[in-house]
């Protein structure tokens, strides 16, 4: 069953330089469609600035979408008023990237964890404490540490507290925005394993945003690759990592460090920088850096199509395998 469905979502920011400067539009998210099943983890990967964080925040309605639809749990939540959105928020939470910035430095851990419950009208203090105590037990924080301030904890502990906060309201979907990229590698695996355990226990769905391909491979069921506000490829994790179709995904995967130094790898080095999202290239947004680009790529905007079973890519040079009936809309 589908928990979250996003249809042609766009998030455009208007920026104005100077007093009389011309207005420019940054297309941070430009027509993204995806869906997340119950209990599933969808990984979102891409370079910094590709719009993956904006996508997460737009789905959570922290940013008002420019256009498109967000359907959560069978309900269109795209333009809900704040009061109605509040009840939806119980079911969708966010885990932040920076554990040093995401906890109010002047609040004790107890009050940080309590706040979501108070906001949602749980007035019985004993009840709140029961929920909090069972949660901190799962994340490895002791009861007597509840009256400490965030700065008294390590980065990994803080991130676990952030995860606990997102779980207090018993949500269905957690959007994790680079939840481990600010942590040491040894702590990363700890937090990732905790997230996997919690997922099983609470039947959570994750949207896991990261630039780290190995982390995403480890945790995801399906993976979407973003480039300049668009999804260029989306597939099951095995298909995507073993058989990448889009030239951008291929290049990204060759950049993943290999633990075995004797293994020879052929890196595809992309030329140039990520183009500015203010002025994205015409046609296929990737054609300026693509090793297989042709003249057509400059004019034709490639649509995200199912090239193999359950494996979608937005590239006109990828020939679809023989499918019984190629589908146009992600279902």
């Amino acid at each position: 069953m589908t928990l979250l469905e996003v249809k042609d979502l766009k998030q455009h920011f208007t920026i104005k330089k100077g007093f009389l400067g011309e207005k420019k539009i940054v297309k941070a998210v430009d027509g993204v469609s995806l869906h997340i099943e119950h209990g599933e983890t969808l990984g979102i990967v891409g370079e910094s600035g590709c719009g993956k964080s904006s996508l997460g925040r737009t789905i959570l309605q922290l940013l008002k979408p420019t256009s498109g639809e967000i359907i959560f749990n069978g309900k269109n939540i795209t333009h809900l008023p704040r009061r109605e959105m509040k009840t939806v928020r119980k079911d969708m939470q966010l885990v932040f990237q920076d554990p040093y910035a995401s906890l109010n430095p002047r609040s004790k851990i107890r009050s940080i964890l309590e706040t979501p419950l108070i906001v949602h009208g749980m007035n019985n203090k004993a009840e709140r404490m029961k929920i909090i105590e069972s949660l901190i037990d799962k994340i490895g924080i002791r009861k007597e540490q509840l009256d400490r301030y965030p700065h008294e904890f390590s980065g990994g502990q803080r991130q676990r507290i952030g995860i606990a906060r997102s779980l207090t309201l018993n949500p269905k979907l957690i959007i994790a925005d680079e939840p481990v990229s600010a942590l040491d590698v040894s702590v990363q695996s700890q937090v990732l394993n905790l997230m996997v355990d919690l997922q099983k226990e609470f039947n959570l769905s994750y949207m896991f945003i990261s630039h780290d391909l190995s982390v995403v491979q480890h945790i995801s069921d399906r993976v979407a690759v973003m480039y300049l506000g668009k999804i260029v490829e989306i597939a099951n994790v095995e298909d995507l990592y073993k058989n990448p179709l889009h030239p951008y995904t291929k290049a990204l995967l060759t950049a993943v460090p290999q633990p075995d130094p004797t293994k020879k790898r052929e890196r595809i080095i992309l030329q140039g920088d990520l183009p500015s999202p203010v002025n994205p290239p015409s046609g296929c947004p990737f054609h300026t850096r693509c090793p297989v680009a042709t003249a057509e790529c400059k004019t034709e905007v490639p649509e995200l199509r199912e090239k193999e079973m359950g494996h979608w890519a937005a590239c006109i040079h990828v020939q679809p395998a023989q499918l019984e009936k190629p589908r146009l809309i992600i279902s």
């Binding site: 928020r89 932040f96 995401s102 109010n104 430095p105 906060r165």
Partner: protein
Amino acid sequence: MARRLFSSPLTLIGLFIVLMIIVLTIFAPWISPKDPLEVNLGQKLLPPSSEHWFGTDEVGRDIFSRIIYGTRISLKIGLLVVVIAFPVGTVLGAIAGFVGGVVDQIIMRITDIFLSFPGIILAMSIAAALGPSIENVLLALAITWWPWYTRIVRSSVLSIKNAEFVESARVIGANPIRVLFKEIIPNSIAPASIQASLDLGFVILAAAGLSFIGLGAQPPSPEWGAMLSSSREILRDAWWAATFPGLAILVTVLGFNLLGDGLRDLLDPKNR
């Protein structure tokens, strides 16, 4: 926190001075040896002695007693001005920074109007318009003081309003009022509250200035600025009549400054 306080001698000196002023304020009738208003023409302009520690003024009043009673007036003005100006300035600044847009423009342009005059001149014109009295000085200073807090708080609100912990409050569905008062203001108030403790000293100085030029406390009130003013004519003959009220102002302002500087370090939770 106590240990950190004791590791900084300057803060300790500041704290000592401020505590001393508070004690003098509370126990003035018991500490001062004479009535501050008692005129004794037979003992006028006596130099400091064992009987009159700070000497006597032009009508024979005991300067030491007058200075002790003066702490009451000065501390009252300092505290009341800050107590009025600080919350007003803080809330307006927080709203300006948090809401932004037109609201921000309106609030900040009004503060600009106030800040475009030198504070003391604005306070002078308000006090002059309202008539010379200590209450009007208080009002005039409060009116000129709040825009500073508005500016300070607004800039710290701007720097944290997009912080992830503020966003996290929005994600859980907290309403904007809660976000403002529980997440934003507690984290942006520190610089302004340090300013407030420094300002206690500056307000006392400004009030003494206004009284000196005759707009504040009126004789025979033992206000330090007014005492300085009335000692001008006898400065050649009686150095003590001007020196001791001046020193009282100096020590008081210094005390609040030292304490304010110390609080800056203490109030930072990262140093706790």
